[in-house]
Symmetry: C2
Subunit: 331 residues, 2 copies
């Protein structure tokens, strides 16, 4: 296994400790619950926004805690849902009179943990609303899901409700906004290589030197089909066709375009993919108004990409453009 | 070769096109010279700052063009210096009455191209100053260098002179600041895997499953020695020891700490490394005042890391903290 790791069981806590040490003024780390939270949270005048999921998708979600984004993220171990008591205790620590918003991607394990955590928190008098993200067009049901999976498109949901909550929106309003963004957001991904979970120590699946997996999930679960390795442009064509025809996106639409890396792909390749995707959308009459290129929601060290389109209306466009300050300092 | 690529000869231009399409309001792409420049440059009241190097180190340097950082970057092909006429034409396009600052890492090819480009530009009446960055402590001379190599530490040089130039500093002042930052900045890197240049199609060198290369360069050139794969903490110990004892950094020093990824390493692992490095510096009495974790100067898809320390004085600390707006939109 070619990874930076000490004891694989300590992979997630050691990463979380690093995040906290790098952001002493803005973040708090609560080791008992794998919790990364804003130092200023909870606030009486703001709905607290919490995302929970397995680890291994960084920067999602522990590294996007900050002003205008999440108030907290409580991850489980690598590719494992957080225990329900983490969800409960996180909800209690983040409780605000304006309520708590849970954002979860549509995986069975995450849903179960959050539904039970929510029930217990509500029994303690905490008001909770839940947003379910299911932007992946690749498969209807998968190894870990009934219905569509939630993948990189959740970034747009988080960004929009994060901005609205800073502007004072109440819980019902955030649910309306979040569901609207999810309803106009579509993603499909593909893998050039597998990924290696630290505790497993070997790749989750095998791909031949001349193969790629189209429609892959972010936990190494199978996609639509295995294909012969293709050129960058052919890959973009296939991903875009799946995404555009699903909503469908139409000529005249204004969109945000995200080319997301799955963890092991250099940003040079992501910009190469972006350039062609942008041009192809223009040829379809679809206007890219906002662009996002980089690692947003990854699958450990997997080489691969996903393409997300989110249709903009004036409200969503303004929320995506609002300022935010996340934990990752880039310069 | 598991990469996103069409024609390998078009790898760099296709990437640059993507950068330009993603940043239509702030950047200009001049395909004739592989040039990415600020749309607002040159300005009569500001020294123009240009970095040139081979491609394959992204985000360095074409993706860190923007307010408070570079005015332009003119890369060569992957791991190849830009031709001297690119340097000349870029210097002409960026010419300002306040002068032009060239920043180059200490590689023989880059130095030759920039020295000749500078001579020709000066013959055209353009005032040019040059900053040479050589922060790598790993080896004295290498495959491509006489003297020490310039690696990720050049980020701190660029950030400091970029900020000072926005505040109106003249060329001599930028040379003073840049040389000061370089003189207190030290880096060492290591690789878990090789990297694969698109045009070569196969790894630059071979590393066994249980091997790592300590002190590797950013072009796959050899480092200090090949060792048995070690734990994350052991790797940090070895890198820190080399960096700290070189300057040397002393108890009571305030520093910026960068844990840089070499392209194929997920950010989760980088934060794990960061946490331990931060703690170990604290144990040595060295105070981390600013932290940088992520991909800054990469070697294509290489899995690996480098650790950079830069000693802060009040002037450098303020310049590093100044606002900047680079081409990569993260949220």
């Amino acid at each position: 296994m070619k990874k930076f790791v000490n004891d694989p069981r300590q992979f997630v806590p050691e990463m979380l400790k690093g995040i906290a040490l790098a952001n002493p003024d803005t973040l708090k780390y609560v080791p008992e619950y794998n919790l990364i939270m804003r130092a200023s949270a909870p606030r009486d005048d703001k709905v607290s926004i919490i995302q929970g999921s397995g680890s291994g998708h960084e920067p999602a979600h522990v590294m996007i805690v900050g002003k205008g984004m999440l108030d907290a993220a409580c991850p489980g171990d690598v590719f494992a849902a957080p225990p329900m008591d983490y969800v409960l205790e996180t909800s209690k620590l983040l409780a605000s009179p304006k309520g708590v918003l849970h954002i979860i991607n549509n995986y069975t394990g995450d849903r179960m943990a959050f539904e039970m955590g929510q029930e217990m928190a509500e029994a303690d008098g905490i008001t909770i609303g839940t947003l379910l993200v299911d932007d992946d067009v690749a498969v209807k049901d998968s190894t870990y899901t009934v219905g569509r999976r939630g993948v990189a498109g959740n970034f747009f949901v988080i960004k929009a409700v994060g901005a609205a909550s800073e502007q004072g929106a109440d819980l019902d309003e955030l649910l309306r906004i979040g569901n609207k963004v999810n309803s106009v957001t579509r993603t499909m991904g593909m893998a050039l290589t597998s990924c290696t979970p630290p505790a497993k120590g070997s790749p989750l699946f095998e791909l031949g030197d001349d193969e790629m997996e189209m429609g892959v999930g972010i936990h190494g679960e199978p996609g639509r089909r295995r294909e012969k390795l293709a050129s960058a442009n052919e890959i973009v064509d296939e991903l875009l066709e799946a995404v555009v025809t699903d909503l469908p996106f139409s000529p005249g639409d204004d969109v945000a375009l995200m080319v997301n890396g799955l963890g092991g792909t250099p940003v040079s390749e992501l910009y190469l993919l972006y350039g062609y995707a942008h041009e192809q959308l223009a040829q379809r009459g679809i206007n890219v108004r906002r662009s996002y290129v980089g690692n947003y929601c990854t699958s450990l060290d997997m080489a691969g990409t996903s393409i997300t389109l989110s249709r903009l209306d004036p409200e969503i466009g303004e929320l995506l453009a609002a300022p935010a300050e996340i934990a990752i300092r880039t310069f």
